[in-house]
């Protein structure tokens, strides 16, 4: 079988800083990493490769520097890497990104299983994986904790509220992966990094994958971001200790002072 893993480069910070004047993210000084959900999805795919001798191709979309996450995936064991990089992709929302990734995957050739992280830690939309399944017209299983393959059966353990569900699919299928809280991403050895330079790596433009310009970038995106702003910080709560009677009296005093009561 042939597995494709969709990966994304994200800023290494869950604490996103926003420039209040321009409404854009401040990325300067924040190092970039492989989105941890994608890292987990990649490791799940590589485990299947090890067990069943599958081929694994990774695909990412981003500026030229996003090559580093593709090379990281190659160093971790993926066989081939693809980076969709073109100014035409800039500003794409999840719909346009799904469209481009689906086109890229079609160009890769016959793919049986597509993995992606449940979401990226920068945008948190969790839309791109399902969007690609929709674009390709194939089934999807989202929020998977674990995946195995038995012959032509893809077996996924999916997380649901209060437990999990076992689902089965026939390829081609798209799976989005969630990860446990204590997940520690694997990192490659020096030799593996050095070896990754010898693996096939392709940079494809919009024209290379036959993507129509009107479906790409800002103008191809149905979602237009109006404004980004940090939610207002909550004011600090006042805490009282002592007996119930004393605390209630203190609270009443404040309510009176703030004109909540007469």
């Amino acid at each position: 079988m042939h597995i494709a893993v969709m990966i994304k480069q994200v800023p290494d910070s869950t604490e996103v800083k926003i420039n209040l004047e321009t409404g854009t993210l401040i990325r300067a000084g924040v190092p970039s990493i492989l989105n941890p959900y994608d890292h987990f999805a990649l490791e799940a795919a590589l485990e299947l490769k090890k067990k069943h001798d599958f081929k694994v191709t990774v695909i990412s979309m981003g500026p030229p520097q996003a090559k580093s996450v593709v090379q990281l995936a190659l160093a971790l064991g993926a066989d081939e890497g693809v980076l969709l990089s073109d100014m035409a992709f800039a500003g794409s929302d999840t719909w346009a990104t799904s469209y481009a990734l689906a086109k890229g995957i079609k160009k890769i050739g016959k793919v049986d299983i597509i993995f992606s992280g449940m979401q990226a830690i920068d945008g948190d939309t969790a839309q791109t994986g399902p969007g690609v399944a929709q674009q390709l017209g194939i089934p999807q299983i989202t929020f998977c904790e674990h995946v195995d393959v038995d012959g032509r059966r893809v077996l996924a353990r999916k997380q649901i509220d209060g437990g999990h569900e076992l689902q089965e699919a026939r390829p081609p299928v798209l799976l989005t992966m969630i990860m446990g809280k204590d997940y520690a991403p694997k990192h490659p050895s020096f030799l593996a990094v050095s070896g990754s330079l010898k693996k096939p790596f392709h940079v494809w433009s919009a024209a290379d994958i036959g993507a129509e310009p009107q479906y790409l970038g800002l103008k191809g995106s149905p979602t237009q971001v109006n404004k980004i702003y940090p939610p207002p910080q909550r004011e600090k709560a006042a805490m009282f200790s002592g007996s119930g009677q004393e605390s209630v009296e203190k609270i009443l005093e404040i309510m009176k002072r703030e004109h909540f009561t007469e």
């Binding site: 300067a28 000084g29 090559k67 580093s68 090379q71 990281l72 160093a75 520690a184 991403p185 990192h187 490659p188 050895s189 020096f190 030799l191 593996a192 990094v193 050095s194 990754s196 330079l197």
Partner: protein, 546 residues
């Protein structure tokens, strides 16, 4: 060897960083430091090919390594020093021990030994130093006598004692410098050879995670094929050939450990409230303990990168440059770590905070691979020759180039750097005219002034460049302010100290005050406080409290 691409290098650095985060927490370092214990398991694990394979950086790809260049090795050394300078020294000793082979080994020797070091993860030690032969290797006492069979030299009997050998007690393979009949030569000695025994592990002030021991060689029989290069008498040349490069590694140690200590102090200063506000907002604190130190470390970084890139582009030797890089980074790093303790006050003086250990550890950088004083002499000797050869134009020409830089980018401190270089040129010339270099003190002090003025020139040039190195963590405004602060300090020190030096040694007073352009140097100090304010703000922004 040329360095690798930025992405590969950064992936390797990330892997090392993640490994250290997972496996080498501060509590463990503190415990090992207290017990004076070498973490053999950690070193072995870091050498495992599927974990990191750290030692492969030194081995060319054709022998199973990854062919790291000087820039790659500088970056890894810097990061290792940020983790622990003792562990860094253990790794460095393998690098250093491998060097005579890399430089002087025959093709067969490289094929055999480099491949073994790579594939068997051998810990290597470099055995040059003896009780009476440190930087001065001509006093070498360890002997290698011919063993002749049927009229043919089949091997050597090596006898002598080595001292202060990093990895001395734990290495698998040793490169030993000994005096053969044909002159000093390097020999490959394996741990299990008869007559070879390491002495006790030293109880040191710092880098206590690094094993340091003496070696006893009592008539150790070494086969002739273990003579590096298969030719006697090449040992000192082989040792010197790599000084430029090995000193860049120690420079990277000073840089990494020094910056790490400062970054911890910068983070601390934002949380510690004194007199109604955080320490990070108080000039009396930041402009004394943090800003000048960080600026000097970034100056050292730019000089290390300048030297690394020249070595990577195929230049050989660069002994003076290696000496400048190491002298600056280790002296300034040592001072930075000292001030980091001061910046943390009582906390900094306890072992609960890593700056205390960093301060003890970093001192070694001023001692090994050439003490600071030996380097002052080396720097002076190298540049004095240039000054004489160029008839006094060496620094004046360099200053002219800095004027060019200033014309294109006036914000990078290039004007102040040019003032420093011209003052230096004038001081050197006055020393020549008045024959002042007969005083050893003068020569060593000149070494110090040369280091600061040249670093200012390189820092300003780097800060004026359109594109910055991948290692710069500040925006253009911040890094240029740092270069200005550095260059002003260098100009002032060169002029004032140079003047004092000449006046202290000369019999007839010259008009050096005019020659060093003291008025211009003083006028150049305008804007210093505003720049230091800016640097303090950038440091706070870059190294936020956790």
């Amino acid at each position: 060897m040329a360095s690798m691409d930025t992405i590969s290098r950064n992936l390797m650095l990330d892997s090392l960083k993640e490994y250290a985060k997972r496996r080498i927490p501060y509590d463990l370092l503190r415990e090992l430091d207290e017990k004076n214990e070498f973490p053999a398991e950690i070193l072995k694990e870091m050498y495992q090919h599927d974990v990191l394979g750290l030692h492969l950086l030194m081995v060319p790809a054709e022998y199973g390594g990854v062919s790291g260049g000087t820039f790659d090795i500088y970056r890894v050394c810097e990061l290792l020093a940020r983790i622990d300078l003792g562990i860094a020294t253990g790794v460095f000793a393998t690098f250093l021990g491998t060097d005579p082979l890399n430089v002087g080994g025959t093709e067969e020797q490289k094929e055999k030994w480099l491949r073994r070091i790579a594939s068997e993860n051998l810990l290597v030690a470099y055995g040059a130093t003896e009780a009476d032969a440190g930087s001065d290797l001509v006093n070498l006492r360890t002997r290698a006598e011919h063993v002749v069979k049927n009229g043919k030299i089949v091997g050597y009997n090596v006898t002598g004692n080595k001292q202060w050998i990093s990895n001395g007690g734990v290495a698998d393979l040793y490169t030993i410098l000994a005096l053969a009949p044909g002159g000093p030569s390097w020999f490959l000695v394996e741990r299990n050879m008869e007559g070879f025994s390491p002495n006790k592990h030293e109880d040191k002030h710092g880098i206590r995670l690094s094993n340091t021991a003496g070696l006893s060689l009592d008539n150790v029989y070494v086969p002739a094929e273990n003579l590096i290069g298969m030719e006697e008498g090449k040992g000192l040349l082989q040792a010197q050939a790599v000084f430029g490069y090995t000193r860049v590694m120690v420079a990277a140690f000073g840089l990494g450990a020094g910056e790490e200590a400062l970054e911890q102090a910068i983070r601390y200063s934002q949380q510690r409230i004194q007199g109604g506000g955080p320490l990070s907002d108080k000039q009396g604190y930041t402009h004394k303990l943090l800003v000048p130190n960080y600026v000097r470390m970034e100056g050292a970084r730019s000089y290390i990168e300048y030297t690394s890139q020249r070595l990577d582009s195929g230049e050989h030797g660069l002994q003076t440059e290696g000496a400048i890089a190491k002298y600056g980074a280790s002296e300034w790093g040592n001072k930075a770590a000292d001030d980091a303790i001061q910046a943390l006050g009582g906390y900094g003086y306890t072992k609960d905070f890593p700056v205390e250990k960093i301060k003890r550890d970093i001192k070694i950088c001023c001692i090994y691979e050439g003490t600071s004083e030996v380097l002052e002499m080396t720097i002076y000797r190298g540049r004095w020759q240039e000054h004489l050869k160029s008839r006094g134009r060496y620094y004046l020409d360099m200053a002219d180039r800095l004027d060019q830089v200033h014309a294109e980018e006036p914000k990078a401190g290039a004007h102040a750097a040019a003032l420093a270089l011209r003052a230096l040129g004038a001081v050197l010339e006055e020393c020549r005219v008045q024959k002042l270099t007969r005083h050893q003190h003068v020569t060593f002090k000149l070494g110090k002034l040369i280091c600061a003025a040249e670093t200012a020139a390189i820092f300003s040039t780097a800060a004026a460049a359109k594109k910055y190195s991948e290692t710069v963590r500040f925006d253009r405004e911040g890094w240029q302010a740092m270069a200005r602060v550095f260059a002003r300090e260098a100009a002032l020190n060169t002029a004032l100290e140079g003047l004092a030096l000449v006046q202290g040694a000369a019999e007839t007073p010259g008009n050096l005050a005019d020659a060093v352009n003291i008025e211009a140097v003083q006028a150049e100090q305008k804007g210093m406080i505003a720049d230091m304010d800016l640097v303090a703000a950038k440091l706070k922004q870059t190294f936020k409290a956790k």
